[in-house]
């Protein structure tokens, strides 16, 4: 035992305060990409202070176990962080949400085990909350990970009376929680609560489709933060309370922003099983009013792009799947050399997590000032010669503006259809994750370039070089 710091001393409280300040600064520095990296370093220093001072507390032993567990965890974490592809970032974030939630739930279980008799009310409330939220976050994140990694279908998985069943599971979980707070001190009750909470975590993410993932990942992020904060109450630990709550606030804010970007309430995302409405009605629109989809060739597109004065690139999940971001950047640079003004239009929910497209394009060395947010770029579409849609679908669907029957009605979209000409790069005519036809494809100014986004962009680069 090292035991340099007494458990109840002011010293440990002050050290944790330093950590709290470091974390707040880390988030504060994220307000600009210029200083963001420095902020992360400050956060890292804060974490090291918290870990070191906790290890120096009196009563800390089991050093071999601590070192072995930390070595395994650090190895896995480091290896994962280093090797993960930027396109797989949503899965990675889901995974980290999950492990954090899992750790919080385990700490709560352990504290409950240590307390031999009934806990005081605050301690039992926070133990129950920490175990409950942590378990939901763990199981939910694992399902989100499986969906994003395509181990499970990205489409909503539904069964009859699903919402009713989910609510029943949640109600049973809460009932167990209340009985624990009311004084039942039986470990099996808490274990049962954890099992039910895990089940609920699985159930509540299963019916959520791929396009709604940005909302769910943000929500799970908030849950993990709240679980950590609840653990702070269990241990009477300020740094856990504050840091957990900062994450909770961040996750909540992102959840609301993402839901707003889809013009849907969070409850609608969670319980609406989006995509059900029109699933199967996939290609019915083609015969609608005699308008048809026109296919084009890379050569034609290359000519259009080369002689344009303003091109806006609209990336979506399709670009991420095809890993086409580097080729897209190359194409954009080629066009810029020809004197074309090239910008990127980023929809807030393009991709599978908040900011997904920005990270991919940053990886491909696209300067961040070329990336324009929706409100900034929309007024520019009428002056745009060519809008090049690369693997984006629902975020460009004009039906969101006028078709009150459409499930995406009211969702703010990129006004791609206002450009003089629109080229849509797409694998096939299959509808997007929302399962809705995109009437943009039938507009007279739209032509389709079918094929894998990466192949198509590579062909485009070759063709542009020859024009």
């Amino acid at each position: 035992m090292i035991a340099l710091i007494a458990r109840d001393s002011n010293l440990i409280g002050l050290l944790y305060l330093v950590t709290i300040i470091c974390f707040i600064l880390a988030l504060r520095f994220l307000s600009s990409p210029k200083h963001a990296r420095r902020g992360n370093w400050i956060g890292g220093v804060g974490m090291i202070i918290a870990i070191t001072s906790t290890l120096l507390l009196d009563g800390i032993g089991n050093w071999v176990l601590i070192i072995v567990a930390a070595a395994i965890g650090a190895g896995v974490g480091f290896f994962g962080a280093r090797t993960v592809k930027m396109t797989a970032m949503p899965q990675m974030v889901a995974l980290f949400n999950g492990v954090g939630g899992g750790a919080a739930a385990l700490v709560a279980l352990a504290e409950f085990h240590i307390a031999t008799a009934g806990l005081p009310t605050t301690a039992s409330v926070s133990t129950v909350l920490s175990a409950l939220i942590g378990s939901i976050s763990f199981a939910g994140s694992m399902i989100a990970f499986a969906k994003l990694q395509e181990l499970l279908s990205g489409r909503p998985i539904t069964f009859p009376a699903q919402n009713l069943f989910n609510i029943a599971v949640l109600a049973a979980t809460v009932a167990l929680g209340i009985s624990l707070v009311a004084g039942v001190h039986d470990q099996w009750v808490l274990w049962l609560l954890v099992v039910l909470a895990l089940l609920f975590g699985v159930l509540f993410v299963l019916p959520i489709g791929g396009a709604d993932m940005p909302v769910v990942i943000s929500l799970l992020n908030a849950f993990t933060g709240l679980a950590a904060s609840a653990t702070g109450f269990v241990l009477s630990n300020t740094v856990l309370i504050v840091a957990g709550m900062l994450v909770g606030a961040s996750g909540t804010m992102l959840t609301l922003l993402m839901a707003k970007a889809m013009n849907r309430s969070v409850t609608n995302v969670l319980f609406g099983a989006f995509g059900q409405v029109q699933a199967g009605a996939g290609t019915g629109m083609l015969a609608d009013d005699g308008r048809t989809v026109r296919a084009t060739t890379p050569e034609d597109v290359a000519v259009q792009l080369s002689f344009a004065s303003k091109v806006v690139i609209v990336p979506g999940y399709g670009m991420a799947v095809a890993q086409a971001q580097h080729d897209v950047r190359q194409l954009a640079e080629l066009l810029e050399e020809k004197g074309v003004d090239v910008k990127y239009a980023i929809h807030p929910v393009a991709g599978r997590m908040p900011g997904h497209m920005n990270v991919l394009l940053a990886e491909a060395n696209v300067p961040y000032d070329a990336l324009k947010e929706m409100d900034e770029i929309n007024p520019e579409f009428p002056q745009t010669d060519v809008a090049l849609v690369i693997g984006a679908n629902d975020v460009t669907n004009p039906a969101a503006r006028h078709d009150t029957a459409s499930p995406i009605y009211g969702m703010p979209i990129l006004d791609v259809d206002k450009a003089a000409s629109v080229i849509v790069m797409k694998r096939s005519m299959n509808p997007g994750f929302a399962g809705i036809d995109n009437e943009l494809y039938l507009e007279p100014q739209t032509t389709m370039l079918f094929g894998d986004a990466k192949d198509s962009v590579v062909k485009l680069i070759a063709a542009v070089k020859q024009t």
Partner: protein, 103 residues
């Protein structure tokens, strides 16, 4: 630390407002690094894991503490390195390129 619940709740309430205040200044462009950065911050449960494992005096607690410690360390280390890797990529347009795009 011996804090009364009231003080803890006060801290919590202030943290909520502070959290919203700070996060609202993060631009949409950095939302993915924000998520992975907050991933890293909730890795602070490692403090709880250390206390549980460090004080574990029966097999049950050792197993639970060991797993918690493993998960939390993976969370901290992975979250930090992923965020650092991502933030390193965000670059401004280099000056000479502006000249080659006359408009």
């Amino acid at each position: 630390m011996n804090l009364s619940v009231v003080i803890e709740l006060t801290i919590l309430a202030l943290a909520i407002f502070l959290g919203f205040e700070v996060i609202s200044k993060v631009p949409a462009m950095l939302h993915t690094p924000l998520m992975s950065g907050t991933n890293f911050i909730h890795g602070i449960v490692i403090v709880g894991a250390i206390i549980v494992l460090g004080e574990a005096n029966d097999t049950f607690l050792q197993v639970i503490g060991f797993v918690a410690m493993m998960l939390a360390t993976a969370n901290v280390v992975g979250g930090w390195f992923v965020t650092d890797r991502m933030l390193e990529m965000f670059k401004k347009r280099p000056e000479p390129k502006r000249e080659s795009a006359p408009k």
